[in-house]
C-alpha cells in the first residue's frame, strides 16, 4: 500500500492529495488566478481553444457555462444523493417558462424586471421539485428514473398543449438584465455572449460555495449515506425521505435558475428545447466528468457543450462520435474523468485502520485512486 502511494505521487490522485493538504486560505489563494483566467477566457479567445469561425466564441462559452450550471444542479441529485433523475430538463423548462412568461411582451402576465424573475424561477421550480418528489421519492432506483423521465415528458407536452405557453410559436423578447453601453446599445443582448458569460460564471461561483458548504454539512453527509446504502442510512437514523426531498428541491432550483438564464440569454423560448434527449445529455455531462465531483461535472459539461460548438464541420457526425466516446470512456474509466471525492469514506477507512491497529496513514483518496488507476 505504502509503495503504491509513493509511485502515485505524480498521478492526478497525488495532485488531489496535495490539494487537500493545503489549508483553506491557501486553496483560495491558489484559485484566484484560475478564476481570473476563467473570467477572461471569452475576451482572450485563445487560438487553439477558439470555436471561430464555426461558432462565436463568447456564445460558445456561455453555452458551456450554462450547461455547467445545469450539471452542478443535476450533480446534487445524481452525484450527491444518488437519485437517478432522467427528467431534469423538466425543471429547466419550468424555470425558462417562468422567466419567459413574466418578462416577454408576448405573454399576458404582468411584467417583472428580468433579474427579479431569477429567484422567482428558483422558488417555482423548487416547488415543482417538491411536488414531484413527494409522491415519487419513496420509489427506488430505476422506478424513480422512469417516473422522472415521465415528468420531463409531461412538462414538454404541456408546453405544447397549453395555449397560454404558446407552443412552438414561443415567446420572443424575453427580458434581460438592465444597462446600456455608452453608445446606447444593450449590454445584455443575445448577440454578445461576454456579459452573459460573466453573469453565469458569477452565479456558478456563488452556487459552488453554497453546494460545497452543503456537501460538508450534515445534509451532505446524509446524502452520501443515502447514496451508498439507503437502508443502512435509514437504520442509522438518517431521515432519508426528507433529505432526498431536499436534494430534489435544491437540484430543481438550480435547474430552474439555469433555465431562466438560458431563456434570457437566447431571448426566445419555445417548446422545442425540452426533449428527453436533453435530460440524457445533462446526465452524460455529469457522468462523463465524474458523478459526485463538482469540478468533474463542470469539466464534463464543458466537453459536452464545447465539442459540438467547436467541431460544427463534423455536423451530423458529432453525435455519433459523442455516443461512441461515451461507450469507450465507460469501458476504460467507468467512474468518469474525475471520480467522486470520497473524503468521508476515506476518513471512515482511516478510522477503521487505526482501530485494527495498522497505524498506517493513507491519503484521503489513495484507495479510491488505486481502484480507479488500477483499471485504467
Amino acid at each position: 500500500m505504502t509503495s503504491t502511494d509513493n509511485t502515485r505521487k505524480n498521478t492526478p490522485g497525488g495532485i488531489r492529495a496535495r490539494w487537500n493538504n493545503l489549508s483553506r486560505p491557501q486553496q483560495w489563494l491558489a484559485l484566484v488566478p484560475v478564476v481570473v483566467l476563467i473570467y477572461f477566457i471569452p475576451v482572450i479567445d485563445p487560438p487553439l481553444l477558439t470555436t471561430e469561425p464555426y461558432t462565436n466564441f463568447p456564445i460558445a462559452m456561455v453555452h458551456a457555462a450554462e450547461l455547467a450550471m445545469v450539471a452542478i444542479g443535476l450533480n446534487v441529485v445524481v452525484g450527491q444523493a444518488g437519485l437517478l433523475d432522467l427528467g431534469y430538463v423538466g425543471f429547466f423548462a419550468v424555470g425558462a417558462y417562468v422567466a419567459a412568461l413574466l418578462t416577454s411582451k408576448e405573454s399576458m402576465l404582468h411584467k417583472l424586471p428580468y433579474l427579479a424573475t431569477l429567484p422567482l424561477a428558483m422558488v417555482v421550480t423548487m416547488l415543482a421539485g417538491v411536488l414531484l418528489g413527494l409522491p415519487t421519492l419513496r420509489l427506488r432506483g430505476d422506478y424513480l428514473a422512469i417516473v422522472t423521465l415521465g415528468f420531463g415528458e409531461i412538462v414538454r407536452l404541456l408546453a405544447t398543449l397549453v395555449p397560454a405557453l404558446n407552443g412552438q410559436v414561443g415567446f420572443a423578447d424575453v427580458g434581460h438584465p438592465p444597462g446600456t453601453n455608452a453608445d446606447g446599445s444593450l449590454i445584455f443582448s443575445a448577440r454578445d455572449g461576454t456579459p452573459w458569460y460573466w453573469l453565469v460564471v458569477t452565479l456558478i461561483i456563488i452556487l459552488l460555495l453554497f453546494v460545497g458548504n452543503l456537501e460538508r454539512s450534515r445534509v451532505g453527509r446524509a446524502w452520501v449515506a443515502i447514496r451508498e446504502d439507503e437502508d443502512a442510512a435509514q437504520i442509522m437514523g438518517v431521515p432519508t425521505f426528507k433529505f432526498k426531498l431536499w436534494a430534489f428541491a435544491i437540484g430543481a432550483a438550480i435547474g430552474g435558475l439555469s433555465g431562466a438564464l438560458v431563456a434570457g440569454q437566447t431571448g426566445f423560448m419555445n417548446n422545442q428545447n425540452f426533449s428527453v434527449a436533453f435530460s440524457v445529455l445533462y446526465l452524460a455531462a455529469v457522468i462523463l466528468g465524474g458523478s459526485g465531483n463538482k469540478v468533474g461535472v463542470m469539466v464534463g459539461a464543458f466537453i459536452v457543450s464545447y465539442i459540438p460548438d467547436r467541431f460544427t464541420n463534423l455536423s451530423d457526425r458529432k453525435y455519433l462520435i459523442f455516443g461512441l466516446f461515451l461507450v469507450v470512456l465507460m469501458i476504460f474509466r467507468p467512474q468518469g474523468l474525475l471520480g467522486a471525492r470520497q473524503r468521508l469514506l476515506a476518513r471512515g477507512r482511516q478510522a477503521y485502520q487505526r482501530l485494527v491497529g495498522r497505524g498506517e496513514q493513507i491519503s484521503s483518496d489513495s484507495s479510491v485512486s488505486a481502484e480507479g488507476g488500477g483499471q485504467a
Partner: protein
C-alpha cells in the same frame, strides 16, 4: 380582471369530450389493444434484460428501429411500396414472414452485438450501474445518428402491406383484419416466450441467473450464454414488433422513431413490474388502452403520452414495484 386570473382561467386547453369518448369507447379499446400489443413486445426486451442484469437497456429502442429498417428494406426489395399490393393472400403472408424473419434476425444480431461490445467489458470490470446506463445512452446515440448519417432525417417512404378490412363487428364497432392479426400474433409470440422461459432448459438457466448469478454459475449454468440469450430474445421480439409497427404506421420508420416508442414500452414494463414477463404484457396493453382513451377524452393525440405517464406515476404510488411485481428471478419450477 387581473391577468393572472385570465391566465389561470384560460382552461380551454383541457376539456373533457365525454360524448365522443362514449361513442368511440370500443373503437378505442380495440385500437388500444393493437398498439398495446406492440408496446408489450418491445417491453419484453426491456424486462428480460432488466430481470437478468438489473440494467435499463436504453439502446433497446434502437434495436427495435434497426429491425424496422431491415424490414422496410426487405419489403421494398420484394416490391412493396406506397400502393396497395395486388398479391394473393398466400404470397402476402409469405413475404410478410420473410420480412419479419429478416427484421428479427437484424434486431437480434444488433442486440447480441451490443451486449458483446458494450456491456460485457463493463461486466468484466464490475463497473457501477450508472456506467452501464451511460453506455446504453451512448450506444443509443451512436446507432441513432449512424442511421441518420446513412438515411437522412426524413422517414423512409411508406410501405403498405394490406388495407385494413372489417372482418366482423363487436360492441358496435368493426374489428379489422389488421387489428386481429397484430393482436393475435403478438399474444402468440408472448406466450411462446413465456413458455420458453418457464419450461425449457435455456429458460431455466435465464431464470437461475436472474435469481442469483453466482449460485447459478456454481450449478453449471453458463451465465454469459444466459445473458446473451436474453438479449437475443429481446431483439427477436423487437424485430417482430417492427413488422406490426410498420403494418400499423406504414411511414413511421425514421432514425429517431424508436425513441418515444421505446420510452412508452419501458414505461409499460415498469407499470407491469419490471423483470416480469407477464407484467410487461399486461403493462403494454394497459399503456396502449389508457393512451387511446386519453387521446379521445382530451381530444389531442399528444395527450396519450401525458396520460400514460400520469397513470404510471399513480400506479407506482400504490404499487411501488409495478402491478405484478418483479419476478423473473422468483423461480416457479
Amino acid at each position: 380582471m387581473h391577468p393572472l386570473t385570465v391566465f389561470l382561467a384560460d382552461s380551454s386547453w383541457i376539456n373533457f369530450d365525454v360524448t365522443s369518448f362514449r361513442q368511440e369507447f370500443w373503437d378505442n379499446t380495440f385500437n388500444g389493444l393493437t398498439f398495446g400489443a406492440i408496446y408489450a413486445l418491445i417491453a419484453m426486451g426491456y424486462t428480460l434484460v432488466y430481470g437478468v442484469l438489473r440494467l435499463i437497456n436504453f439502446a433497446h429502442s434502437e434495436v427495435f428501429i434497426a429491425g424496422a429498417y431491415a424490414l422496410v428494406f426487405t419489403l421494398s426489395g420484394l416490391g412493396f411500396d406506397g400502393s396497395v399490393p395486388g398479391l394473393s393472400t398466400l404470397a402476402l403472408i409469405g413475404d410478410m414472414l420473410l420480412a419479419c424473419l429478416v427484421a428479427m434476425l437484424a434486431s437480434g444480431a444488433i442486440a447480441v452485438l451490443l451486449e458483446r461490445i458494450a456491456y460485457r467489458p463493463l461486466r468484466r470490470k464490475g463497473a457501477p450501474p450508472l456506467a452501464f446506463l451511460i453506455t446504453a445512452i451512448g450506444v443509443s446515440f451512436a446507432i441513432q445518428y449512424a442511421i441518420f448519417i446513412w438515411r437522412g432525417a426524413s422517414a423512409e417512404p411508406a410501405v403498405i402491406l394490406f388495407v385494413p378490412k372489417a372482418l366482423f363487428s363487436a360492441f358496435g364497432t368493426n374489428i379489422t383484419n389488421q387489428q386481429l392479426i397484430i393482436f393475435v400474433a403478438a399474444i402468440v409470440l408472448m406466450l411462446l416466450i413465456d413458455q420458453f422461459i418457464q419450461r425449457t432448459r435455456f429458460g431455466r438457466g435465464v431464470r437461475a441467473v436472474a435469481q442469483d448469478p453466482d449460485t447459478a454459475t456454481l450449478m453449471g449454468v453458463n451465465k454469459e450464454r444466459a445473458i446473451m440469450l436474453t438479449f437475443l430474445l429481446g431483439g427477436l421480439l423487437a424485430g417482430a414488433a417492427a413488422l406490426f409497427y410498420v403494418i400499423k404506421v406504414p411511414s413511421g420508420v425514421v432514425f429517431n422513431g424508436g425513441f418515444t416508442l421505446g420510452i412508452k414500452a419501458f414505461a409499460a414494463a415498469v407499470l407491469g413490474g419490471i423483470g416480469n414477463i407477464r407484467g410487461a404484457a399486461l403493462g403494454g396493453l394497459l399503456i396502449g388502452l389508457v393512451g387511446n382513451y386519453g387521446q379521445t377524452l382530451l381530444g389531442n393525440a399528444q395527450w396519450s403520452d401525458v396520460i400514460a405517464f400520469v397513470v404510471l406515476v399513480v400506479v407506482l404510488m400504490f404499487r411501488p414495484t409495478g402491478i405484478l411485481g418483479e419476478s423473473l428471478g422468483k423461480a416457479r419450477v
